[in-house]
Subunit: 501 residues, 2 copies
């Protein structure tokens, strides 16, 4: 299957099995990408079945009785190497998660997610929550059933068991404390940030139209400038930008709007950060649990350190402005660094999470973090979600969504069964700031390089401190190794103060 | 999984299992398409593993001990319906094929095919057979091992066992007799066809360049004119045109050349014929053995009845010429029906099979049919293949390939493990002529419709007589049902006499 030992000892058998499982998941990842980028609509029903069957097969491979025997035998005489030992622990963890769920529940979840997601697309387009309410309630019941089975198996609360699947070892208590502190920061500083912003000149938007082919060409050039290799990556279009595919064949996507180009550029730089992480994972650990990315929060830290920390820095914006002006022509003034900074770092209390600036973004996450815990616990009924959403938004940002499309219908996550995912975004933002602060301490010339669009120093640092470690550590241990302390929002708050206050 | 009964009786269990297997194969089909159209080169090694693992999984699902028990039980009290009864027979047939091969041989074949194919690409580009000789010899050994295992299980010779996988029930003896007759036809008529052609005015080629985007747009328009539905199909580019994907998500490809557009148009019309067959298979039998296309020869009959019979008819060429002139502009004369007919029905003793006209095409197939039998039997060594190729070409067409690229390196088939496939092309051409003759008997207005580019009458006839029957019949029985007689080359020879003599 790969370089993993295929020998007859228990650990070797497990390594071979996990490589096979990972290979099935790679197949599913390509099919997922295809569904969002290439597939004609009429293929949707069959694709849902294909993904459900592959998920069921991977689950069955992980839960065959032989695995429990091999795990016990391998644990009795563990492999000598440090990464192999951790790999074995992660195999046990994956096995515990998988055996906690019956195969029919796994397939039912995959199918219900795919169905609910389809209904959600129509509901969102029509801004009609009632249309998807039933499907979401049904899906939530299955998610709740999963969480209830996973929790005791992992020794976690049901919600923590879902969070664990997104970022191993991070709990609602830890995230909750960080978010409470952030809420206080916002209450204390948001008005002041807005007031300062109001005193500065309003940003000028570059004049379009920006032909989509030219945007895509520049985006691809920027992605390669950051370090993506064309022989291992693609850039395509999809309704929502994402990074998918496999380690040696990473697929990023973006969407384009003829009227405005900067958003697409930043979105591609974001996905490029994700893709560079996948490309930096150690090939020697490929298809083993320890060789995978460390979790969604760490993944998000890698996209955000590129997008928010490096590429929205004053230094990089100078380079970006020159490239954009060269690509799109027209008046040069809007592309000047200071104007681009005002444009691309504008703070606004908007309704849409994915459009949010880095200051208000965590408020969107906090809202979802609280609501999804309530939904899962049964304290909030699906029918009451729009009302609760409006109430929480008012409490956090002082406004309410004008409609469902800009409210609880905006994100795909819950409608595709992803609960416990949202905290990763903001924990990732905090980790990104913490990693950037550490990188800057050892890279004194970083800004000079960023001014030329050159992130290679930063990337080399990330490759060594984050990518090469893959899943060898959990979040806190990884941050400890890379930055000298566990995950700590202080660097993020310091970054916001420096940039906005 | 699908509409198949998922009940607890043996046949119901089998239907569920075969639907799952078909779903895994659908996943593989999309990955195959992706590898030829979208995948960056660096993803090739991982993709080979993904396909090998999926092939191994499908094989394992088919060979689990439970299947033998269920087959025996279902055969003891067979399902009542006619299609279910035939479905059960096809399940038994698939099981016999699969259990004849050990799982490790199946995966080794998939991996060796993928490796050899990769080496072949380089060898063909360099026109250097020596480079791929070793890989082909290794792959051939595995193919021979498979054929030796399959033959006794199916009660067939080893080569017939491979042919059976391409077109159930057709043997080398049947194909050999047809090909011997065709060789006689060629010996008798080819020189006369060439002499007549030489007395007619030489065709004039339309003047390019033909922008590729315009070619692709027209090709897609023509494909839709023939009946392809955009919500269930895509047209993309690949090095070699093919039809892939799944029944509800059919993916056709073509390649384009700025200097010449007609070849790409005909190639898309050919693949459209394949795609229309996939789209016409009965949804109620989806993912069941009986619901699949009847075999490669029948598949080829569906592409060729569109490309060669319908779209190269005088009537359709009038429509095609108008469309091409409208798309590409320039002088109208080369697009006139009579000139297009001379251009697109030109007979030439070329070296490349896929570029061959319909008269000499079977000679290319006969050559390969004979050589692959000799290779499989061990009567011909891989090292001696180029010499044998030259000798056979001289005997059949009176010339020799100037180099390997135009000789035994030209086709992917053997290098990807496909032996016993080639006869399907010419058996398909013969079936296409036979079907067209029958269709014309019941569609007196066909030419008037074709003159407007309208194949809907023909398609409706094919849907009823061929597509709707899927794998309910073998080749001869299908031809009997549709045309009143088993496969018979007489209609093809009559077609060639009418068109060329």
């Amino acid at each position: 299957m790969n370089d993993a030992p295929a020998g007859t000892d228990a650990y070797g058998r497990l390594a071979s099995r996990f490589a096979r499982i990972a290979t099935v998941r790679e197949a599913a990842a390509v099919l997922d990408w295809d569904a969002s980028t290439m597939m004609p609509a009429g293929g949707g029903a069959a694709r849902g079945e294909q993904l459900a069957v592959l998920a069921g097969i991977a689950h069955a491979m992980l839960t065959e009785p032989q695995v429990a025997d091999d795990l016990a035998a391998a644990e009795a005489s563990p492999p000598a190497g440090a990464w192999e030992a951790e790999n074995l622990r992660l195999m046990r963890h994956a096995h515990t998660r998988a055996t906690a769920l019956p195969a029919d529940l796994v397939e039912a979840l995959a199918r219900a997610s795919s169905d609910c997601e389809k209904i959600w697309r129509g509901a969102r387009a029509a801004s009609d929550f009632a249309r998807v309410r039933g499907a979401l309630a049904g899906l939530l019941r299955l998610v709740r059933e999963s969480a209830a089975a996973l929790g005791p198996a992992l020794g976690l609360s049901p919600y923590d068991a879902l969070m664990d699947d997104n970022q191993r070892g991070v709990t609602a208590a830890q995230a909750g404390a960080i978010f409470t502190a952030y809420e206080a920061f916002l209450r204390e500083n948001l008005a002041e940030i807005e007031a300062r912003q109001a005193r500065r000149p309003a940003p000028v938007s570059p004049r379009g139209p920006f032909p989509i082919a030219a945007q895509e060409a520049l985006a691809w050039k920027l992605a390669q400038r950051l370090g993506l290799e064309p022989e291992h990556t693609r850039l395509d279009r999809s309704v929502h930008p994402f990074c998918g595919g496999t380690h040696t064949d990473v697929r990023i996507t973006s969407r384009y709007n003829e009227e405005e180009a900067a958003t697409a550029m930043m979105s591609v730089l974001h996905e490029t950060g994700h893709a560079l992480y996948e490309r930096g994972l150690p090939p020697a650990w490929a298809r083993q649990p320890v060789g995978q990315a460390a979790g969604n929060a760490v993944h998000e830290s890698q996209s955000l350190i590129m997008e928010m920390q490096a590429c929205r820095s004053d230094a990089f914006l100078g380079y970006l402005g020159r490239e954009m002006h060269a690509a799109f022509g027209g008046d040069a003034a809007p592309y000047e660094k200071a104007n681009l900074a005002r444009l691309l770092r504008r703070v606004e209390r908007g309704h849409i999470r994915v459009d949010a600036d880095e200051v208000t973004y965590p408020a969107h996450v906090i809202l979802r973090f609280r609501l999804e815990q309530a939904l899962l616990a049964g304290d909030l009924q699906v029918a009451d979600l729009p009302g609760a959403w409006a109430e929480q938004t008012r409490a956090l940002l002082g406004n309410e969504p004008p409609d469902g499309r800009r409210g609880c219908l905006q994100d795909i996550h819950w409608y595709s069964g992803a609960f416990g995912y949202f905290p990763s975004y903001s924990l990732g933002a905090m980790a990104a700031a913490q990693l950037m602060a550490a990188a800057r301490r050892s890279l004194p010339d970083l800004d000079a390089a960023l001014a030329e669009g050159d992130v290679s120093q930063l990337l080399a640092w990330l490759r060594r401190e984050v990518h090469a470690r893959a899943s060898l550590f959990g979040m806190d241990a990884l941050m400890q190794a890379a930055t000298g302390k566990p995950l700590d929002p202080a660097d993020f708050l310091a970054h916001l103060r420096t940039r906005y206050l």
